[in-house]
Point group: C4
Chain length 277, copies 4
């Protein structure tokens, strides 16, 4: 799938995942902060768990579809790894992409098991996600033997993004529920998604002229582009976060909570406690 | 702005920022330590907040000015990214510099929002700063295709400084208010500032002979220079810190605190509690 | 021992060690979690200590055997480091392998001392293991001067695995008893083991044709293979973990604990306390 | 001082520093652990402070001597940086070495200030040490332009050691008094010391034949040598630690403590509290 579509599709998935996670974590954080004002119906533990299960199922389904698509579409290897007649490997690119999907599938499976049963420690889902992202970056990095300069540059920027996200997830193993890390992960996922689209446009332009993959100025422009995508991702995450926060707050104010008088107003969440110094 | 002025200007901004931060954090730390002796008028939460807002506004203003200057001064691209007639990118260097300023502007905006409203978690401003510094280092690193040895060396030293500062800010997300990290950040900011001046003198000497950018001895000298700049920055920060500490202490002693008798004297701050062992 | 056996043997050791550790840590974690339901006979402190001592002795024994084998088998250097007649180093590969074994032996010795006497702080055994793994990766990395592309690739993947394990152990110095890190270490050990077998098959195929060590496609296949080994190791660890958990739970339910009524049921272990948010 | 002596001298300093620190931290740790049994005369806060002051003064003195020696001995630059007549830099190597000493001198000065006055936060001395080691590694790394393979290899191993020590010190900023980190730092300092001697013997053999600096086998041997030095340093540290522990314990048992009956026996220090699981 070394084509425009082959980059646009996973890019779209990452974009959707990034938006979804931003919404989810913003909602949870907002309801947590406003716990004293209103109710916690929106983020009770049972509903959180149900959400996680649905999310994991969806990821599992799409990574399964992705694996099948890589294997059986158009010019896929159809599960044949080595061509013993002509003595060469069959479509290694497709196999590598399928491997990437496999790891996301594994992560989703583990997450599913964790949230349906009590068998495994909770932090394991973040570790699995960290491994999946690391594996993606690792495969990206070795994708590149003997490619042209711009191609290498584009993919190493992508790998960089993967490794940063992987570190971010790994930190979440120890600092679970830290909204800063969660938003950072969302931003990097959005970045990855829009960057996949960018790669598609640069390497396989659907229309218009081909890019000169050896021009030095193109490398410099693409580097800058990466920064702009990051800025854009940050913008989207912050807008979404603020919107969700405002909506939650206004909703909770309208529904008069019964137990209002019994609670001490806590106008500051524990996260900002170090501000008092 | 690949010129002497183009390096001297941001260098001066960094120097001023480093000095300002050193003063600010020293003052806060000193007043915190001496809380029991005197009053906390100097570092009440409201005045801290006001200070942060002013600081963010100034940074926002200057990064906006910087972006405009990169675009519209002398040989700027005037917001034109691609010259479709001659088919080449317009002044990519200026665009890259404007991108750097953009991220500092974003960080300042977020900081402004955090400190005026209660919308976002406090630690976000440090994360934004970490991202801004990381972005600066990232762009620096890819500035360099096909330059001469000394040029590359000078800029990679600069990128190294950016990455260290970025890591430092990222650690502050988790250890907010740690004076050690804050002073380290100030030192690295001062280093960056004076190093920009050094780069200006080496690459675009305003007078006197050009440097031989391929001489091996020049590379070695410049490396050593970097260490000296670091030593100098450390010296400046420590002198400033000690001065502020002394002044605060003597001031607080002169104004007899009213509530003196009600407080247990705490002669040691919590930071040094691990010394007792 | 640059041969198939020379890779298969340590590979097998690593596989056994990985399986053993997975079992051990799963058992301890499971008994800890179910402490309130049943008894803690299975993981009393004394029995844990006895287990650690036996384990360390076994590792010490095998690393000693390994060192002897590298020195005195077939074409070993027999403790002679430099051939003064012909003026060249004797079998540096064997010496390097013996050095790797030496560090594992040292780690086992320290672990033995820690668990038999009270002389040293407990976390030292993890530090020693981190150093042993780091040393292994370090030697691997410098194994490679002037080898062919695939050879370098295979060994650097191995070194990567070593460094990750080393970091994992180092983290355990500070987060001892964290089941996530322990399972990660087990996974990486299994990966190392099966990867050693893979290296043996690639570089010294016991039968069939030689691999073309310069073919670009082989490099890409081997990269993907590494991911598959990782997925396989993750699968083995999770199956083993779940099995042990289930067995422990069912065992503990069958033996009616005497002190049942005196204990408050704790259905959730402290690890997952951050889920409530 | 690119000579045998020029490496043997700092090597000896590092060896002495490593031994001294091992002794100091072992003693403090041992007295802390046995606090309940006997007295704390050996490690009262005042005597600790006195020790730190003496240590800092000695380091300051020797780094001053080192700077002077680099400048004024035999073929030093005598404070002249640039030869304006012949237009070349004067003895940059000596200047670089002097810069390394300068940073150790700065660290010692700061440590002196911290322990004589109460002006600065305690953790600053570790940060300064981390910076000094980092600076040493940084200069080492750029020492190397245009040298032969073995020379580069030897010095990069040295820089690796510096960076590891620097990270170790930086961790101590946050985990002060952690005996594991302290012993690790001692080990790495000893390693640095003995490695300096090794560099001296390899690059400037005082007698016997020169080494072939381009032979691949020499590189492999030197790599292995590095591991052996590490093993040796670990051995020395552990022997010293055990000796000090035993001596302290036997001493404290002989002197019957007066306040014995007033103290609850604490047979386990807080460090090993995670062993209970």
């Amino acid at each position: 799938m070394g084509s425009f579509k082959g980059h646009a599709l996973p890019g779209s998935f990452f974009l959707v995942a990034g938006l979804w996670w931003t919404g989810k974590y913003s909602l949870w954080h907002a309801t947590r902060r406003n716990k004293s004002i209103g109710s916690t119906r929106l983020s009770s533990r049972a509903s959180q768990r149900r959400l996680e299960i649905i999310e994991s199922s969806v990821i599992l389904f799409f990574s399964f579809v992705g694996m099948l698509a890589e294997q059986f579409l158009a010019d896929g290897p159809r599960l044949q790894l080595y061509d013993f007649v002509e003595k060469h490997w069959e479509d290694l690119m497709n196999w590598q992409h399928a491997t990437m999907y496999l790891f996301f599938g594994l992560a989703a499976t583990v997450s599913l098991v964790i949230h349906t049963t009590e068998a495994a420690p909770l932090a394991l889902d973040r570790l699995m996600m960290a491994i999946a992202f690391f594996n993606e970056g690792f495969l990206f990095l070795y994708h590149l033997h003997g490619r042209s300069m711009l191609d290498v540059h584009v993919a190493s920027a992508s790998a960089l993004c993967c490794f940063r996200r992987s570190s971010c997830c790994f930190l979440e193993v120890f600092h679970r529920g830290n909204i800063i890390l969660e938003l950072l992960r969302c931003t990097l996922t959005l970045l990855q998604g829009s960057w996949f689209w960018q790669i598609g446009f640069v390497l396989y332009p659907p229309q218009g002229p081909e890019w000169d993959l050896k021009d030095h100025n193109n490398v410099m422009f693409v580097t800058m582009c990466y920064s702009w995508h990051l800025a854009f991702a940050m913008l989207v995450v912050s807008v979404l976060y603020c919107t969700v926060s405002c909506v939650v707050r206004s909703r909770l104010k309208r529904t008069p909570p019964m137990e209002m008088g019994l609670l001490k107003p806590r106008d500051r969440d524990p996260e900002s406690e170090d501000e008092i110094l």
